[in-house]
Protein backbone atom coordinates (compact mmCIF):
# COMPACT_ATOMS: atom_id res chain seq x y z
CA UNK A 1 0.00 0.00 0.00
CA UNK A 2 2.84 2.42 0.88
CA UNK A 3 4.61 1.48 -2.35
CA UNK A 4 1.46 2.29 -4.37
CA UNK A 5 1.22 5.68 -2.69
CA UNK A 6 4.91 6.30 -3.45
CA UNK A 7 4.39 5.28 -7.08
CA UNK A 8 1.49 7.69 -7.54
CA UNK A 9 3.43 10.50 -5.84
CA UNK A 10 6.43 9.89 -8.11
CA UNK A 11 4.20 10.01 -11.22
CA UNK A 12 2.69 13.31 -10.09
CA UNK A 13 6.09 14.78 -9.19
CA UNK A 14 7.58 13.67 -12.51
CA UNK A 15 4.76 15.15 -14.61
CA UNK A 16 4.90 18.38 -12.59
CA UNK A 17 8.61 18.77 -13.28
CA UNK A 18 8.04 17.91 -16.95
CA UNK A 19 5.57 20.78 -17.29
CA UNK A 20 7.17 23.44 -15.11
CA UNK A 21 10.85 23.23 -16.02
CA UNK A 22 12.11 25.08 -19.13
CA UNK A 23 15.38 23.20 -19.63
CA UNK A 24 14.83 20.06 -21.76
CA UNK A 25 17.20 17.93 -19.65
CA UNK A 26 15.23 18.79 -16.51
CA UNK A 27 12.08 17.75 -18.37
CA UNK A 28 13.70 14.40 -19.24
CA UNK A 29 14.71 13.95 -15.58
CA UNK A 30 11.08 14.54 -14.57
CA UNK A 31 9.92 12.06 -17.21
CA UNK A 32 12.50 9.59 -15.88
CA UNK A 33 11.03 9.84 -12.37
CA UNK A 34 7.43 9.59 -13.67
CA UNK A 35 8.16 6.42 -15.67
CA UNK A 36 9.98 5.00 -12.61
CA UNK A 37 6.80 5.68 -10.66
CA UNK A 38 4.65 3.82 -13.18
CA UNK A 39 7.08 0.87 -13.07
CA UNK A 40 7.03 0.87 -9.26
CA UNK A 41 3.21 0.84 -9.47
CA UNK A 42 3.33 -2.43 -11.42
CA UNK A 43 5.67 -4.04 -8.89
CA UNK A 44 3.59 -2.77 -5.97
CA UNK A 45 0.51 -4.40 -7.54
CA UNK A 46 2.40 -7.71 -7.70
CA UNK A 47 3.36 -7.64 -4.00
CA UNK A 48 1.51 -9.66 -1.37
CA UNK A 49 1.92 -8.96 2.36
CA UNK A 50 4.77 -11.01 3.83
CA UNK A 51 5.66 -12.55 0.43
CA UNK A 52 9.04 -13.93 -0.65
CA UNK A 53 10.34 -13.84 -4.22
CA UNK A 54 8.81 -16.24 -6.77
CA UNK A 55 11.75 -18.67 -6.81
CA UNK A 56 11.35 -22.42 -6.27
CA UNK A 57 12.75 -23.71 -2.99
CA UNK A 58 12.46 -20.61 -0.80
CA UNK A 59 10.07 -22.44 1.50
CA UNK A 60 6.31 -22.13 2.19
CA UNK A 61 4.39 -18.86 2.59
CA UNK A 62 2.85 -16.43 0.05
CA UNK A 63 4.96 -15.36 -2.95
CA UNK A 64 4.81 -12.20 -5.08
CA UNK A 65 3.18 -12.48 -8.53
CA UNK A 66 6.03 -13.13 -11.06
CA UNK A 67 4.23 -11.80 -14.17
CA UNK A 68 4.41 -8.04 -13.37
CA UNK A 69 8.10 -8.50 -12.48
CA UNK A 70 8.77 -9.85 -15.97
CA UNK A 71 6.80 -6.98 -17.53
CA UNK A 72 8.73 -4.45 -15.47
CA UNK A 73 12.09 -5.89 -16.54
CA UNK A 74 11.10 -5.12 -20.12
CA UNK A 75 9.72 -1.67 -19.26
CA UNK A 76 12.91 -0.53 -17.48
CA UNK A 77 15.15 -1.46 -20.42
CA UNK A 78 12.77 0.15 -22.95
CA UNK A 79 12.66 3.34 -20.91
CA UNK A 80 16.46 3.49 -20.74
CA UNK A 81 16.70 3.04 -24.52
CA UNK A 82 14.23 5.87 -25.26
CA UNK A 83 15.94 8.08 -22.68
CA UNK A 84 19.42 7.53 -24.20
CA UNK A 85 18.09 8.37 -27.66
CA UNK A 86 16.26 11.52 -26.56
CA UNK A 87 19.37 12.72 -24.68
CA UNK A 88 21.39 12.27 -27.86
CA UNK A 89 18.88 14.36 -29.76
CA UNK A 90 19.11 17.02 -27.03
CA UNK A 91 22.88 17.12 -27.61
CA UNK A 92 22.35 17.59 -31.36
CA UNK A 93 19.91 20.43 -30.68
CA UNK A 94 22.26 22.03 -28.18
CA UNK A 95 25.10 22.00 -30.70
CA UNK A 96 22.82 23.59 -33.35
CA UNK A 97 20.77 26.03 -31.23
CA UNK A 98 23.31 26.72 -28.42
CA UNK A 99 20.57 26.43 -25.82
CA UNK A 100 18.54 23.82 -23.98
CA UNK A 101 15.71 26.22 -23.19
CA UNK A 102 12.51 24.81 -24.60
CA UNK A 103 11.25 28.18 -25.86
CA UNK A 104 14.49 28.68 -27.73
CA UNK A 105 14.31 25.23 -29.30
CA UNK A 106 10.74 25.76 -30.43
CA UNK A 107 11.44 28.72 -32.66
CA UNK A 108 11.12 27.19 -36.12
CA UNK A 109 13.76 29.25 -37.87
Amino acid sequence: MAACALAIALVGLGFWTLIRRRNVIWKLLGLNVAAGGAILFLVAIAHRPGAHPAIVGLGPGPTADPLPHALVLTAIVIHFATLALSLVYVIVLTERRHSQDVHKLEEDR
Partner: protein, 212 residues
Protein backbone atom coordinates in the same frame (compact mmCIF):
# COMPACT_ATOMS: atom_id res chain seq x y z
CA UNK B 1 -4.21 28.60 -18.75
CA UNK B 2 -2.51 29.06 -15.39
CA UNK B 3 -4.76 26.55 -13.60
CA UNK B 4 -4.48 23.94 -16.38
CA UNK B 5 -1.15 22.37 -15.42
CA UNK B 6 -1.76 21.72 -11.70
CA UNK B 7 -5.32 20.56 -12.51
CA UNK B 8 -4.04 18.07 -15.08
CA UNK B 9 -1.36 16.54 -12.83
CA UNK B 10 -3.67 16.50 -9.81
CA UNK B 11 -6.42 14.88 -11.88
CA UNK B 12 -4.20 11.99 -12.91
CA UNK B 13 -2.87 11.47 -9.36
CA UNK B 14 -6.33 11.52 -7.74
CA UNK B 15 -7.86 9.20 -10.33
CA UNK B 16 -5.09 6.61 -10.04
CA UNK B 17 -5.35 6.80 -6.25
CA UNK B 18 -9.10 6.14 -6.40
CA UNK B 19 -8.47 3.21 -8.75
CA UNK B 20 -5.79 1.75 -6.49
CA UNK B 21 -8.00 2.05 -3.45
CA UNK B 22 -10.43 -0.48 -4.84
CA UNK B 23 -7.61 -2.93 -5.70
CA UNK B 24 -6.89 -3.82 -2.10
CA UNK B 25 -7.01 -6.40 -0.46
CA UNK B 26 -4.93 -8.26 -3.05
CA UNK B 27 -6.28 -11.65 -4.26
CA UNK B 28 -4.35 -14.95 -4.09
CA UNK B 29 -1.42 -15.37 -6.54
CA UNK B 30 -2.19 -18.09 -9.14
CA UNK B 31 0.20 -21.13 -8.79
CA UNK B 32 3.35 -20.73 -10.90
CA UNK B 33 5.57 -23.62 -9.78
CA UNK B 34 4.84 -26.19 -12.48
CA UNK B 35 4.69 -23.55 -15.26
CA UNK B 36 8.23 -22.57 -14.22
CA UNK B 37 9.38 -26.16 -14.15
CA UNK B 38 8.02 -26.65 -17.73
CA UNK B 39 10.60 -24.14 -18.95
CA UNK B 40 13.35 -25.84 -16.94
CA UNK B 41 13.95 -22.85 -14.69
CA UNK B 42 13.50 -22.24 -10.96
CA UNK B 43 13.17 -18.46 -11.10
CA UNK B 44 9.60 -17.81 -12.29
CA UNK B 45 10.53 -14.38 -13.68
CA UNK B 46 13.23 -15.92 -15.86
CA UNK B 47 10.79 -18.60 -17.03
CA UNK B 48 8.38 -15.85 -18.13
CA UNK B 49 10.98 -13.55 -19.70
CA UNK B 50 12.86 -16.27 -21.58
CA UNK B 51 10.06 -18.73 -22.15
CA UNK B 52 6.40 -17.83 -21.99
CA UNK B 53 6.75 -14.17 -23.07
CA UNK B 54 9.87 -14.49 -25.17
CA UNK B 55 7.97 -12.60 -27.91
CA UNK B 56 7.99 -9.48 -25.68
CA UNK B 57 11.66 -9.95 -24.87
CA UNK B 58 12.62 -10.17 -28.56
CA UNK B 59 10.93 -6.84 -29.19
CA UNK B 60 12.56 -5.32 -26.16
CA UNK B 61 16.00 -6.37 -27.41
CA UNK B 62 15.17 -4.81 -30.77
CA UNK B 63 14.14 -1.57 -29.02
CA UNK B 64 17.45 -1.50 -27.14
CA UNK B 65 19.52 -2.31 -30.24
CA UNK B 66 17.71 0.24 -32.41
CA UNK B 67 18.22 2.93 -29.76
CA UNK B 68 21.96 2.25 -29.97
CA UNK B 69 21.77 2.39 -33.79
CA UNK B 70 19.99 5.73 -33.48
CA UNK B 71 22.66 7.03 -31.12
CA UNK B 72 25.41 5.95 -33.50
CA UNK B 73 23.63 7.47 -36.52
CA UNK B 74 23.04 10.81 -34.85
CA UNK B 75 26.39 11.31 -33.14
CA UNK B 76 28.68 10.28 -35.98
CA UNK B 77 28.69 13.74 -37.68
CA UNK B 78 29.40 15.39 -34.32
CA UNK B 79 32.66 13.57 -33.65
CA UNK B 80 35.45 15.87 -32.53
CA UNK B 81 37.82 16.11 -35.45
CA UNK B 82 40.77 17.13 -33.27
CA UNK B 83 42.67 14.54 -31.28
CA UNK B 84 40.79 13.54 -28.16
CA UNK B 85 42.50 15.47 -25.33
CA UNK B 86 44.14 13.02 -22.91
CA UNK B 87 42.30 11.99 -19.78
CA UNK B 88 43.57 13.26 -16.46
CA UNK B 89 44.05 9.71 -15.11
CA UNK B 90 44.39 10.00 -11.42
CA UNK B 91 46.25 7.06 -9.86
CA UNK B 92 43.19 6.41 -7.68
CA UNK B 93 41.00 5.89 -10.77
CA UNK B 94 43.54 3.63 -12.45
CA UNK B 95 43.98 1.48 -9.35
CA UNK B 96 40.21 1.34 -8.77
CA UNK B 97 39.62 0.22 -12.36
CA UNK B 98 42.21 -2.54 -12.13
CA UNK B 99 40.88 -3.75 -8.76
CA UNK B 100 37.19 -3.55 -9.64
CA UNK B 101 37.23 -4.87 -13.18
CA UNK B 102 37.78 -8.50 -12.10
CA UNK B 103 34.82 -8.77 -9.68
CA UNK B 104 32.53 -6.86 -12.08
CA UNK B 105 33.12 -9.29 -14.94
CA UNK B 106 32.87 -12.34 -12.65
CA UNK B 107 29.66 -11.08 -11.06
CA UNK B 108 28.05 -10.29 -14.42
CA UNK B 109 28.98 -13.75 -15.76
CA UNK B 110 27.46 -15.24 -12.59
CA UNK B 111 24.30 -13.18 -13.09
CA UNK B 112 24.00 -14.33 -16.71
CA UNK B 113 24.73 -17.96 -15.88
CA UNK B 114 22.42 -18.29 -12.88
CA UNK B 115 19.69 -16.09 -14.32
CA UNK B 116 17.17 -18.89 -14.50
CA UNK B 117 17.91 -20.31 -11.05
CA UNK B 118 18.08 -17.21 -8.86
CA UNK B 119 17.62 -13.48 -9.31
CA UNK B 120 19.62 -12.01 -12.21
CA UNK B 121 19.43 -12.51 -15.92
CA UNK B 122 20.73 -11.12 -19.15
CA UNK B 123 19.82 -7.45 -18.68
CA UNK B 124 21.46 -6.62 -15.34
CA UNK B 125 24.47 -8.71 -16.39
CA UNK B 126 24.79 -6.75 -19.64
CA UNK B 127 24.33 -3.38 -17.93
CA UNK B 128 26.93 -4.29 -15.31
CA UNK B 129 29.38 -5.34 -18.02
CA UNK B 130 28.68 -2.05 -19.84
CA UNK B 131 29.39 -0.01 -16.70
CA UNK B 132 32.54 -2.08 -16.12
CA UNK B 133 33.72 -1.26 -19.64
CA UNK B 134 33.06 2.41 -18.96
CA UNK B 135 35.12 2.23 -15.77
CA UNK B 136 37.91 0.82 -17.95
CA UNK B 137 37.43 3.75 -20.36
CA UNK B 138 37.63 6.20 -17.44
CA UNK B 139 40.91 4.67 -16.36
CA UNK B 140 42.61 4.01 -19.69
CA UNK B 141 41.18 6.89 -21.75
CA UNK B 142 38.36 6.27 -24.18
CA UNK B 143 40.47 6.81 -27.28
CA UNK B 144 43.12 4.19 -26.57
CA UNK B 145 40.50 1.71 -25.43
CA UNK B 146 38.35 2.50 -28.48
CA UNK B 147 41.33 1.63 -30.63
CA UNK B 148 41.84 -1.70 -28.93
CA UNK B 149 38.16 -2.74 -29.15
CA UNK B 150 37.82 -2.34 -32.92
CA UNK B 151 34.51 -0.48 -33.29
CA UNK B 152 33.11 -1.95 -36.58
CA UNK B 153 33.80 -5.48 -35.33
CA UNK B 154 31.73 -4.63 -32.22
CA UNK B 155 28.86 -3.41 -34.40
CA UNK B 156 28.84 -6.58 -36.49
CA UNK B 157 29.06 -8.59 -33.27
CA UNK B 158 25.98 -6.84 -31.95
CA UNK B 159 23.97 -7.43 -35.12
CA UNK B 160 25.16 -11.03 -35.16
CA UNK B 161 23.98 -11.46 -31.55
CA UNK B 162 20.55 -10.04 -32.42
CA UNK B 163 20.19 -12.23 -35.53
CA UNK B 164 21.15 -15.28 -33.41
CA UNK B 165 18.62 -14.23 -30.76
CA UNK B 166 15.88 -13.96 -33.38
CA UNK B 167 16.82 -17.41 -34.72
CA UNK B 168 16.78 -19.02 -31.26
CA UNK B 169 13.56 -17.12 -30.48
CA UNK B 170 12.02 -18.48 -33.65
CA UNK B 171 13.11 -21.95 -32.57
CA UNK B 172 11.47 -21.56 -29.15
CA UNK B 173 8.28 -20.10 -30.61
CA UNK B 174 7.75 -22.59 -33.42
CA UNK B 175 9.53 -25.79 -32.50
CA UNK B 176 8.84 -25.58 -28.77
CA UNK B 177 12.43 -25.81 -27.59
CA UNK B 178 12.54 -25.82 -23.79
CA UNK B 179 15.11 -26.38 -21.04
CA UNK B 180 17.50 -24.79 -18.59
CA UNK B 181 20.48 -24.74 -20.95
CA UNK B 182 18.35 -22.80 -23.44
CA UNK B 183 17.72 -20.17 -20.73
CA UNK B 184 21.45 -19.87 -20.03
CA UNK B 185 22.21 -19.51 -23.74
CA UNK B 186 19.57 -16.82 -24.17
CA UNK B 187 20.78 -15.01 -21.07
CA UNK B 188 24.37 -14.92 -22.32
CA UNK B 189 23.28 -13.65 -25.74
CA UNK B 190 21.22 -10.90 -24.12
CA UNK B 191 24.10 -10.00 -21.78
CA UNK B 192 26.54 -9.72 -24.70
CA UNK B 193 24.09 -7.64 -26.72
CA UNK B 194 23.26 -5.25 -23.84
CA UNK B 195 26.94 -4.88 -22.91
CA UNK B 196 28.00 -4.00 -26.47
CA UNK B 197 25.05 -1.62 -26.74
CA UNK B 198 25.95 0.12 -23.48
CA UNK B 199 29.60 0.36 -24.55
CA UNK B 200 28.64 1.82 -27.95
CA UNK B 201 26.50 4.52 -26.34
CA UNK B 202 29.19 5.50 -23.86
CA UNK B 203 31.92 5.37 -26.52
CA UNK B 204 29.90 7.51 -28.93
CA UNK B 205 29.23 10.03 -26.19
CA UNK B 206 32.93 10.29 -25.41
CA UNK B 207 33.83 10.83 -29.08
CA UNK B 208 31.64 13.94 -29.08
CA UNK B 209 32.64 15.09 -25.60
CA UNK B 210 36.43 14.86 -25.91
CA UNK B 211 37.66 12.63 -23.15
CA UNK B 212 35.15 11.13 -20.73
Amino acid sequence: MKWAAPMAVLGIVVLVAVGTWSLFPRPEVPPWEEATAVWGAENAVAAIVLGARLWDTLFEILVYAMAMVGVRLVLRPLWRTGSVPPLAETPLLRRAADVLLGPIVVFSVYLAASGHLGPGGGFPAGALLGSGLLLLALAKGADRLGGELHEPALERGEYGAIALLLAVGGGVLFFGWKGGSLCVGLNFLIAVEVAIGAWVVLHQFTRTRGEV
